[in-house]
Symmetry: C2
Amino acid sequence: MATDITELSHPARDDLRLTNVLFALSDPERLAIVKQLADGPLEMAQCHLSDPSMPKSTKSHLMKVLREAGVIRNEPLGRGRRLSIRHEDLEARFPGLIGSVLNASADV
Amino acid sequence: MATDITELSHPARDDLRLTNVLFALSDPERLAIVKQLADGPLEMAQCHLSDPSMPKSTKSHLMKVLREAGVIRNEPLGRGRRLSIRHEDLEARFPGLIGSVLNASADV
DNA sequence: CTGATGGTTCGAATAATTTCGAACTATTCT
DNA sequence: AGAATAGTTCGAAATTATTCGAACCATCAG
């Protein structure tokens, strides 16, 4: 057991970069994922893509971009993964940003 | 005079797409441009890039991405161009968004 | 232990962006 | 008119992002 795949790295609050966050949110599929997490954490399996036939590797990659930008948290839970928006960190660094994005994406 | 190059096309307010706006703002150089316009319109020649040696075609392209996303207005003024943030349109479609982005980019 | 479920990671192919120089357009100044 | 200033546009090259399948890893149910 060299590397523990279940523990993924997340950027520290102070390392969050605004442009990275905006980029992560600038993709419709990723934004749709974040919208689903707006009401609270979700298991990854319950988080759906617009095209259900997309391979899981693509879904995993979308999550990776969101995680590496610091938008979401991805932690092991049972045999799956629990996803959540990093509200507190985002709010601390970029006050009001995630809220206005989620609000503006309501009708999309 | 077939085409009038001085009149560039701008998306209508209702055609603004959140993901396009976020994408346009997700580049450090473009975000820096928008920051310079936060205090009011500026002539393009007075709008500086981080690297002053960048060719003008690159600068023009950065402006194009911002304009086509609906973030900035680009209108002819004298022999140059007047750039401004489309505050009202952005605020109407995505309330609070541009404000929180500008606020969060203060320390960048 | 075995199989099924739920994900991550890697590498390669494809697609999209960025960057730059060159050519071109419009406006102003002399 | 001619030259200088200020930009746009086009096309090619370089860089990045996305997509997908295959291989792999971990947990749970039997």
